[in-house]
Amino acid sequence: MTPHIGDSYAERNARERARTLLDPGTFRELLDPFARMRSPYLAAQGVVSQSDDGVVVARGTLGGVRACVAATDGRFLGGAIGEIGGAKIAASLELARRDAERGTPTRVVLAFDSGGIRLQEANLGLLAIAEICDAVAALRTHQPVVAVIAGRVGVYGGMSIVTALCNEVIVTEGARVGLNGPDVVETEAGADEFDASNRPLVWKVTGGRRRFAQGHATALVADDMPDIRAAVEDAFVRNRPFVAIERPEFPDPGLEREAFLRAYGITP
């Protein structure tokens, strides 16, 4: 018997994710690969650049409404954000805000799969993230900003902060959302703190299911394109206002590590 194997979002590259999130036949990429907006900073560091700098911005419609998807390519440098890719995302948000102010709203979906800021462009990435954070918050006053976190990288670093600023965050079970990647925590604090090779623990702590249970994600869906598309449409129809982020309840951080995790419902 053949089971239902989802039409996987994670399996697609950034361009195909954007294409399938938009209404069929409406995908139109801006600054596409032939624009050759490559990072000029990578060659000096022995890294080959990519013609779209790892970010795809596409216009089209979503549920028949003007829309824009900004998708990062987790395969190129882990989807990390540099100057050009960062500017693509920031500009999309700024243009959508202009549209909203003009009364011709453009829906924005942030399809992130990103390790955070690109180390090779360090402070330019930092500046870009600050701009993106502000642009999300500004656009949010007009309309929901929707993030889809369903790729193989997840979102970390600055990009996880941006995600937390969105009205709606759609995740799959395979998604990961965290500030510091487990490998980074392990490097900084040791494997006793966070054993990054313990994959079930990584997902118990940062996985989509956990983030949904914590209320950090607003929808948990199967890795199946129809489900993800439906969740995105829902998010716009629902049009929920942003809920200011408050300090959550959590166990006493003074508890020994394992006791803390157990008290928080995580079996290490």
Binding site: P3, H4, I5, S8, G174, S197, N198, R199
Partner: protein, 543 residues
């Protein structure tokens, strides 16, 4: 008058020396070093159960900790030199000679020990060959094995990983050697008797469950388009063409790709029930979709695979299982089955020379072979015919024999700059440096019937002479040094004669070689296919 029972007398002396540590046949794990020091004598042949899956690691750790003043110059017999303490045996002077099959993870350190003169390699064997010698000229004095459970009578239960335990124990026990088993627990009644208790002398409960590696799990996420293209060529150009029903697969991503396109590509070609019905291989998770789609009639396994226990137990029509429901594996019998009863072996290699000799040996490493040479040869003792076997010969003589299909599946380059096809195997230089009388060749070229690369298939069995064989191989060797020698006119002739086929000659459309052709594209998909029965090990989980 000469004595005829010296081995038995010595065995009794050995056990008597250890008696103070033993109660009802059982000793404590903390006494393992002392027991080994009591039982062992310098120069003993010691067989340590250690293969690429299950490891008697409590006992091997204890062996590496014995006093070299008391125990030295052991002759180590072991399938796979896989653990660091195996090498410590040489470093500490406990063992000075070794006969083995494979040394994957320790191949670099082993080469160093040989160079330093601390150990002498008797020979590098295939599994079956090594097991065979246990019954002829390398019978162990002591065997150190691993099992899941023991009962008060010493009966052993080995769960899904019976592997080579019965073989080692049989060779040792019936020639008055001492058999020591580490078990994960002692129970009133073993789940199933895999080794009878009167073959076992001493039992110890290990400080932690025996070490085991999920070696046959391939994450479909890592299969790329090139491997899928090659898989399509194999299905059309070999399995379909020769109607291959009985077969063995290696553990590479490329063979995993074949397993995963059977329910899609194979199904579309109408080949279900026509090919790939009876298998000799471990419970590969990537075979689940083919099994669930009704492709597979039977699977016999060398060993188990972590995470596949519940799935296997739920598919007793397909797998060999005990009354308890769990898999019964047996490396020696499965190797034998793979050698004599399958029509096809397909595997991969690191290097291949212009005559299709292949080796996984690289300079500075003594890696060995494992089971591939048993499966990847033409067993000339075979007498039962099959369509596939007979198609390998063009003879019409009244006396004729068929031939095993031996396929090597390789990309022309391993990494961007490292060619698979080379003028001379590293194994030749390695063998010379290590003083071996023969170069460690994994599969001899004259056993190879087909070579598949991303460029096409060389039907070597069809070649009329050595020159044509070389030309056929060069034709599919891409831009490697061997491939650049190919003459395009000659290649056209070989294609016309069917000695070489490119994808288009086989009706394989390159553009179809996409991951969407895989019946499962992630470990998660495999779990879904299994109806939740497959429980992948931690390291393969993304949820």
């Amino acid at each position: 008058m000469s004595a005829w029972d010296t081995r038995r007398i010595r065995k009794n002396q050995r056990l008597a020396r250890a008696a103070s540590y033993v109660r009802s046949g059982v000793f404590e794990s903390g006494d393992a070093v002392a027991v080994l020091e009591s039982v062992l004598e310098p120069g003993d042949r010691v067989c340590v159960e250690g293969n690429n899956q299950k490891q008697a690691d409590l006992l091997s750790r204890a062996l590496a900790s014995v006093d070299p003043e008391r125990v030295h110059d052991l002759h180590l017999l072991i399938s796979v030199l896989g653990r660091p303490e195996h090498i410590e045996l040489f470093e500490r002077g406990i063992a000075s000679q070794v006969d083995f099959s494979f040394s994957g993870p320790q191949s670099l350190r082993l080469a160093q020990q040989v160079a330093d003169g601390r150990v002498r390699i008797g020979a590098i064997h295939t599994y079956l060959e090594l097991f065979a010698r246990y019954f002829v000229d390398l019978t162990p004095d002591i065997a150190l094995v691993a099992a899941d459970e023991a009962d008060a009578s010493g009966n052993l239960y080995t769960g899904a990983n019976t592997e080579e335990t019965p073989t080692i124990v049989e060779a040792t026990a019936f020639r008055n050697g001492v058999v020591i088993a580490q078990v994960n627990r002692i129970v009133d009644r073993v789940t199933r008797v895999d080794v009878p208790g009167d073959w076992v002398d001493l039992v110890v409960v290990a400080d932690r469950p025996y070490e085991i590696e999920p070696l046959f799990t391939r994450d479909p996420e890592q299969i790329d388009d090139v491997q899928i293209l090659m898989a399509m060529m194999v299905v059309r150009g070999i399995y379909e063409r020769h109607r291959v029903r009985t077969l063995n697969h290696g553990i590479g991503f490329d063979t995993a790709a074949i397993e995963l396109i059977l329910p899609t590509y194979g199904e579309r070609l109408g080949l279900r029930g026509e090919i790939c019905t009876n298998w000799v291989l471990n419970p590969h998770p990537t075979l689940i979709p083919a099994i669930e789609s009704g492709w597979v009639q039977s699977v016999h396994s060398f060993g188990g695979e972590l995470g596949m226990e519940r799935y296997v137990a739920a598919r007793p029509d397909v797998f060999f299982t005990g009354r308890d429901g769990s898999l019964r594996s047996n490396r020696a019998l499965s190797q034998n089955a793979g050698m004599y009863a399958t029509d096809l072996f397909i595997g991969s290699t690191l290097q291949m020379d212009p005559d299709a000799n292949s080796s996984t040996a690289t300079l500075g490493r003594i890696a060995g072979f494992g089971g591939a040479p048993n499966l990847g040869n033409d067993p000339r003792g075979r007498r039962h015919p099959s369509q596939a076997w007979l198609e390998m010969t063009s003879s019409t003589h009244e006396i004729r024999r068929g031939r095993k299909i031996v396929v090597q599946l390789v990309e022309t380059f391993r990494e961007s700059g490292v060619p698979t096809f080379v003028e001379h195997l590293d194994a030749v230089a390695l063998g010379r440096m290590a003083g071996f009388p023969i170069a460690p060749v994994m599969i001899y070229g004259d056993d190879v019937t087909h070579v598949v690369t991303e460029e096409g298939i060389a039907y070597l069995y069809k070649a009329r002479d050595v020159d044509e064989r070389r030309a056929a191989l060069a034709a599919i060797a891409g831009v490697t040094p061997v491939g650049l020698l190919a003459d395009s006119t000659r290649t056209q002739e070989l294609r016309r004669d069917g000695v070489v086929a490119f994808p288009e000659d086989l009706g394989v459309v390159r553009g179809e070689a996409k991951r969407s052709l895989l019946a499962a594209r992630s470990i998660r998909d495999l779990v879904t296919w299994s109806g939740g029965l497959y429980e992948p090990p931690k390291r393969f989980r993304s949820w």
